[in-house]
Symmetry: C2
Subunit: 332 residues, 2 copies
């Protein structure tokens, strides 16, 4: 029913080898043969069968990317960075959304391994470094995104979350705030716990500063609102909140502003993390910690390529430094 390379060859009056050479732009084909093959392809509506190609090649030309939350602009920007870089190399990116669910995360890894993807980029949720090391051992290169790898033999591209946390809280302290709250979770996710570690370091350097931890079930706007409503209802409140990402910060901001009773930054200062595009567009523009989102994705893809080319290379760890972006939500 669907035309194969053999049908094209027959129609063009050449061999399958020649058709294959045309498809792959081999220079060894005469102009005449090329034209005939092109015509036959158009007439038959021939479309290359990627499965057959892959089977022969041993690897697919797709890269799998598993993210924690597709709705978070941070990850879509990272994905775009990876896609742009992949396009240059003739690869494509398949996006999987683990949605902070270990079962979904694991299912995507299974799927990608069965597909013999070129490699896997993953922003991990569960404790899966052993599994990833195993994947790598079996021949699928893996690069951690947004989390630094620990001892396992896997490369990573991340941002120094501890430094980011320190930067955020040091900024709040420098504007005179002393009763700081950290809002985010789950703390089992290292990207998040590292930000908390940094926050604590900054607190410890200033006498009289205190840190309260408000753990959330996830990093979403809704969770942020929940925390905000709780704060509004309290008698004793922190004078500044460090949200573990911008979505949580946006939710907090909404709840605080909606209450009418609290002003940002006068009553409560607020700082987020990621510096998504949206951060500058909130009711009160949000101070945040910028991560080079696009660059993270692009770099991860480049490293993946290098590993695919030379599997024996030792794992690499790229760590970007985060940057403080001050806006109205923390002004004095």
């Amino acid at each position: 029913m669907v035309a194969s390379i053999r049908d094209v060859a027959q129609r063009a009056g050449v061999s399958v080898g020649t058709v294959s050479n045309v498809l792959n732009d081999s220079p060894r084909v005469s102009a005449d043969a090329t034209a005939r093959v092109r015509a036959a392809i158009a007439e038959l509506g021939y479309v290359r069968n990627e499965a057959a190609r892959q089977l022969r090649a041993g690897r697919s030309s797709s890269v799998g990317l598993v993210v924690l939350d597709v709705r978070n602009p941070f990850f879509t920007d990272v994905a775009r960075g990876a896609e742009d870089e992949a396009a240059k190399l003739g690869l494509s990116v398949i996006l999987g959304n683990s949605d902070e669910d270990v079962r979904r995360e694991s299912a995507y890894l299974d799927l990608f391994e069965e597909q013999r993807v070129h490699g896997i980029l993953i922003s991990p949720y569960g404790d899966i470094e052993p599994r990833l090391a195993e994947l790598r051992r079996r021949g699928t290169p893996v690069v951690l995104v947004d989390r630094e790898s620990r001892d396992s033999g896997v490369s990573s591209v991340s941002v120094d979350d501890t430094a980011g946390g320190r930067l955020a809280v040091a900024h709040l302290l420098s504007t005179g705030r002393r009763r700081i709250a950290f809002a985010g979770g789950p703390l089992g996710v290292r990207q998040i716990s590292d930000r908390l570690v940094g926050a604590r370091q900054a607190i410890d350097e200033v006498a009289g500063a205190s840190l309260e931890v408000i753990e959330t079930a996830g990093l979403t706007v809704l969770e942020g609102r929940r925390v905000g409503e709780e704060l509004v209802a309290r008698a004793e409140r922190p004078d500044a909140v460090f949200a573990a990402n911008d979505l949580v910060a946006v939710g907090l901001l909404q709840a605080l502003v909606m209450s009418g009773a609290l002003r940002v930054p006068e009553d409560v200062a607020l700082i987020g993390f990621d510096d998504i595009d949206f951060a500058s567009a909130t009711v009160v523009p949000l101070t945040s910690i910028r991560q080079p989102r696009h660059e993270i994705g692009a770099t991860a893809l480049r490293i993946l390529r290098e590993e695919a080319a030379e599997p024996e290379l030792p794992p690499r760890r790229i760590v970007f430094q985060p940057e403080l972006v001050v806006r109205a939500s923390t002004r004095r």
Copy 2:
């Protein structure tokens, strides 16, 4: 390097046919053989090669889904509906983000066709129905999502956007508003222009009612803010705005509230479209037009399956009816 089914067969002391039967849970295999094969698989770390499977089967077990904007919760909810339904059938969903770009949209269709996906679900951006009909003719079932198909031979699952637009504006009119603005775009996207058509129908039924159209470049929060800022700066303002989706409505709300000069709904009423989860969580909870998002995705996938099973079926058009959800942003 990587173990194949032949290696497993050899290690287990059976034929490849038997291994294949074990992998596919055929009942015709003895307990003894099954156990030996399972053991061999574990020892060798064997992972099935999906490309080889696909080549033989002729079709992949993945379904391609192309959405206009992954960041829009409406589409992630539709995607989840499709995924949940796919999982029941042993299929997986590959997500592609066209990001309202015809080149990206087209590239995903190429990719999916080369992959011989089981079928394609697409929320179309450009005018690609002819291309989709061609795909279907060549054997890849296609279902339009979120847009009703016109004359072409393609199935669709959508919501009655015209009825939705009518519902929205009729509601604004029923609360006494008369100078209505429609904010959204690009109007070349039929999902959007249909909402405008419905809005106009409602306007035409009420004497003294007027409709102003403010076209935007896309349906994003940032575009909504832009429109909001423009409205704030004006002397003559509408007394109600119908935003073509909730993201635009959220942006509008932010800009209006931020100005401090305008109150919602007292000075300007605001209604959105989609009723994303977030709509009830905005500073002023948003009145919206609800679409059965999860159900749309699930239904589309079910129809895709039916078409894959019986390619001769005539195209079907499922149209869900939208529903008005009243919240604070349009109260009197």
